[in-house]
Structures are given as C-alpha cells and as structure tokens.
C-alpha cells in the first residue's frame, strides 16, 4: 500500500512540476516578442495597416503575374471572342458592328462584369493579340453592383466615322478630288 501512496505522491509532484515547467517554457518563448530583443525581422509586428503605403502592399509591390482587375486595349483587340467563349462564368460580352471591308473591326461593346469575374486568368491566356491583360489593381469596390460592369468597347459607330470611311472609299475609287477641303497654300 505504501508504495502505491508514494508512487501517486511522486506522480502528483511530477505532474505539478511538468505543468510549471511547460508554463515557464512557453513564457520564455514568447518573452522575446515582448522585448523585441536581437530578433531582427523574425519577431517584428506584421500588421499591414492597409491604406498606408509604407506598411501595406500597394499595386506596384505585387509580383508581376498577379491577377488583378482586367484591362482591354481596344485598339489591339481583334474581337475573336475567344475570351468570351472560354470564360467559366460567362462574364465577358463582345459585340461588333459591320464595317467596310478593309477597315479594322469596330468593337462596339466589350463589357466585363467584375461582379461575376473570378480572376482565373483563362481569358488573358487565350487572348492572341494580348490586348486583354491583368493589371495589378485590386481596389474594385463600388456602391452599386451594376457599376461593377466595366466596358472597354468603342461604342456605336458615330456619324463622323461613317463620313470618314465614305470619304476614304471615295478616294480609292477616284471619285473624290484629294485636294478638296484643304486650305489653299
């Protein structure tokens, strides 16, 4: 009987000692954080206070391949609609208008609905003329979800554009006097 009492007593004190030792061990591990002693950047505060550019990442600190908000350079866009087809969430809408044969394609509507976009990067990968790219911008908050639909298209063809084409075509067919409309020298 005595051996069992002694062993339980020994176990009791060992348990108390182990508790105290691990309490002290954890305390010493956390102490350097309190005193920031010789820890270089191992133990510095890591809170990023967002709008302040010094302590938090801004657009240009992000790595080159970051998939941020999209931007389409409409002049290079050939309206091949590959991006519209491959997009998993169908958030790109492209519409073109008919133009005279030799003129460049007129992309009247190129809308990306950033409410649906999941920034997967497939459209950028598929775009041959590389006009659709990921910018490193990430601040896309708006008050009304309808404003999330950004449009990059050229809009419907205006009257003066039609007149320009008509004049260009007339020049090709020789019906037009090239000098008309210029200031007399």
């Amino acid at each position: 009987m005595t051996s069992s009492v002694l062993s339980t007593l020994a176990e009791y004190f060992r348990d108390v000692f182990r508790g105290a030792r691990s309490l002290f061990g954890s305390f010493m591990t956390a102490l350097p954080y309190l005193l920031n002693v010789n820890s270089g950047d191992l133990r510095k505060e890591v809170t990023e206070q967002y709008p302040d550019p010094v302590s938090s990442k801004t657009a240009d600190d992000l790595p080159p391949r970051t998939r941020g908000l999209l931007f389409n350079d409409i002049d290079r866009c050939s309206a091949c609609r590959e991006c519209e087809w491959v997009c998993p969430v169908h958030c790109i809408e492209v519409e073109t208008q008919s133009v005279p044969a030799d003129a460049k394609v007129w992309v009247s509507k190129f809308d990306i609905d950033f409410a649906k976009c999941i920034f997967c990067g497939l459209c950028v990968e598929v775009c041959q003329p590389a006009s659709l790219i990921h910018t490193k911008q990430f601040e896309g908050s708006v008050y009304d979800v309808r404003d999330l639909k950004k449009s990059f298209g050229r809009g419907p063809i205006g009257e003066d554009q039609r007149r320009k084409w008509a004049r260009a075509q007339a020049l090709d067919e020789g019906r037009e006097d090239p000098k008309r409309g210029e200031w007399p020298s």
Binding site: R18, G19, R21, S22, L23, G25, S26, T29, A30, Y33, L42, V46, L62, P63, R65, T66, R67, E82, W85, V86, C87, P88, I118, F119, C120, G121, L122, E125, V126, H134
Partner: protein, 376 residues
C-alpha cells in the same frame, strides 16, 4: 402527474450550427446532453452544396479545371491535379518531367499551407491566440510564393491538361528554399510554445480517440488514419507525377501525449507531415529538370477520346479520388470526386459520445474536415 413523472429528468437537446465558432464549417450538430456530458451526437451537412459536378459537365475541358480547384478552397491544386491525372490517363497525354516536378512542388506547398491552417484553427479552438497569430503570419509567406508563381493566393488555377500553364521564374526557386528555412525555424518555435504545453496536452490527449479498426471501417484516410496507426499514403502505394523518385517516409501516430489516435496525436502528426513536406520540397527543388512545361496546346475544339479513369491523389485531408468519364465531346461527361471528408464526417457521432461540451471544438477541428469538399 405523479411525483416520479414530475421529478423525471431527461437529456437536453442542443443543436449547434449551421454557424457556430466551435464547428469546422457550416454544418448542424444535434447533441443530446446529460448535463455537460454528451450522450449522442448526429451531424447534418449540405449547406455548401454548389452543384460543382453538374457545373463541370457544362463547361469545356479548359475551364473545367477552374471549377475543379474550387472543390476544396484551402488546397486548390489537389482538385485540379485529380482531374488532370484522370484526363491525361484517358487521352494518353504524357506530362513532361519539368511539369511533373512543378506539380510536386506546388502540391507540397499547398499541403504545408493547409496544415498551417489546421494548426491555426486548433490553436484558436483551445484559446491560445499567440500561436494562432504566429501560424497565420507564417502561412502568409507560403501564400506569397503562390502569388509569385501563379498570380493568385488560394485558387491558383495553374494546372493545364498536359502540364502547367506557365514556367517557373528564376527567383522562385531561391524564394522556396528561403521559405523552407523559415518554416523549419518556426516549427521549433511552435513546439516550444504550444505543441507539448501541459495545458494543451490536458485539453487534447485522450480526447476523440480513433482506433485503427474504426478508422479503416469508416473509410478514414490521410493524416487522421495515419495518426490512428494505419500507414496509408497514395504517394507511396500508387505514386503519381514523379513521387516515386523522391524518398520520404510516412509519419505514423506515436501517441506521445496520450494514446495513439487521439486529438493530440493528429495535431503532432501534421507538424511532422510539414517537416516531411519540407524534405520533399528540398529534393524536388534541387532536381528540377529543364525542358517543356506544357505538352498540349488546348484550343476551342479540344476533345478527349471516349473512356473513363479513376485517379487517386494524396490531399492534405486524405485520399482524394476523381472518377472522370469522357464521351468524346468537348466537355467532360461526368466528374465524380470521392473526398476524404466523407469518411471523417462519419467518425463524429462515435468520437463525440461521452466527452464534455467543451471538447467538441477540439475533436471536430482535430479531424480537419472541409465542408466545401464534403458537400461539393
């Protein structure tokens, strides 16, 4: 009403969820309590069903991978890898060595990031906020690597049929080695601060004991099964994507804190798995071969020959199986995922019986269940 009826006591019915800080995700947990002791528990899920498998059937082969990486948001690459391996097996596409190596690197980095998420949740469940913040701070370094290589932090959408979508930039290899060194130092700090802390031992050892027989009977795989003593690991039993060239050993539960298969064993096992992943990363980063990173250019009319395949992948939560059927069209005919969380959810009613109300969060979070993966 006789006195006996009047004084009769009954169990308290308490249903937790769908949102509750003690639960690993949106699920219901219907408990019968006798005071503080739990008499019986029953789970109900289905709150995160997004119809992923139906969506995969309606999209082309290219964009199906984007949906596959949303199977388990915390370890995105394993959904993609499962679908890629199955599709490549059907279509007979062979993946260049360099792409396989990049896939192994990304898998091990995701495993580390998912296990760090597990450590943070366990620390929060037990109430040690310093450990919680240290772990999340170190996970940021791993997520920076993902952003550097793929452009996104969690849903990286980086794998393509036949390889990866972009090559590894030069600075990436050095950064991976630096992060490995940093995490090795941090692991030592976690052990000093938290893993064998007496109070944490008391909260998690002998709690939620999962024996190896019950683990096998309920179809539990992955770290939870290894902590129970079964050494099941797909990377060893059916190696894929170049794992046969890497030598690493599978850590099995030793039951230092209490017994084999308790919550503390599962916690410490994941720490060992992080060290093992660091080993694998070191070997695969040193031996990355030159060469092509993608063997197939996918256009709009890309189709895969009719056929079916079943691929197994070792995800941080267990064995993830993907049964892919193709009927020769431009879209997968059927994609079915067998997720490890299915088995883990079955163990909850058994592990919860007889424990106290305060132990629920420790048991549930020690199983590392992802509800997004369970409901699909």
């Amino acid at each position: 009403m006789s006195l006996r009826e009047y004084l009769a006591t009954d169990f308290t019915n308490w249903s937790l969820g769908p949102y509750h800080p003690a639960l690993p995700g949106p699920m219901m947990l219907r408990l019968q309590l006798d005071g503080e002791i739990i008499v019986s528990g029953e789970t109900e899920a289905g709150f995160l069903h997004r119809g992923l498998e139906k969506a995969l059937e309606r999209h082309s082969w290219q964009s199906s991978l984007t949906y596959a990486d949303r199977l388990d948001p915390e370890s995105a690459i394993f959904g993609e890898l499962a679908v890629c391996l199955a599709a490549e097996e059907i279509a007979g596409i062979d993946v260049p060595r360099r792409a396989q190596n990049i896939r192994v690197i990304l898998s091990e980095l995701t495993r580390i990031s998912s296990h760090l998420g597990f450590l943070a949740r366990m620390a929060k469940a037990v109430g040690s906020t310093p450990m919680f913040h240290y772990v999340l701070r170190d996970r940021e370094r791993v997520l920076d690597l993902f952003e550097l290589l793929t452009g996104a932090r969690f849903s990286i959408n980086f794998l393509r049929l036949g390889g990866v979508s972009a090559d590894v930039t030069e600075g990436f290899i050095e950064r991976v080695i630096d992060v490995c060194e940093l995490i090795r130092i941090r692991l030592k700090e976690y052990n000093d601060l938290f893993s064998f802390n007496h109070a944490f031992l008391k909260r998690s050892s002998w709690i939620g004991v999962l024996s190896s027989e019950r683990a096998r009977a309920l179809g539990v795989t992955g770290p939870n099964a290894r902590a129970a003593g079964l050494s099941l690991d797909v990377r060893k039993s059916a190696p894929y994507s170049g794992y046969e060239l890497i030598d690493f050993e599978i850590p099995v539960g030793r039951g230092e804190g209490g017994t084999i298969g308790d919550a503390h064993d599962r916690f410490v096992l994941r720490l060992r798995e992080i060290t093992q992943s660091l080993e694998i990363l070191k070997q695969s980063v040193d031996s990355i071969p030159a060469g092509q990173f993608q063997s197939v250019k996918i256009s709009r009319e890309f189709t895969i020959a009719p056929g079916e395949a079943y691929s197994r992948v070792e995800s941080p939560r267990g064995t993830l199986g993907c049964h892919l059927v193709s009927d020769g069209g431009t879209r997968p005919a059927r994609v079915q995922f067998k997720t490890p969380s299915t088995g883990h959810m079955l163990t909850i009613p058994e592990l919860v019986i007889g424990t106290r109300v305060e132990d629920i969060s420790v048991i549930l979070l020690s199983l590392d269940i992802s509800l997004a993966e369970f409901d699909r």
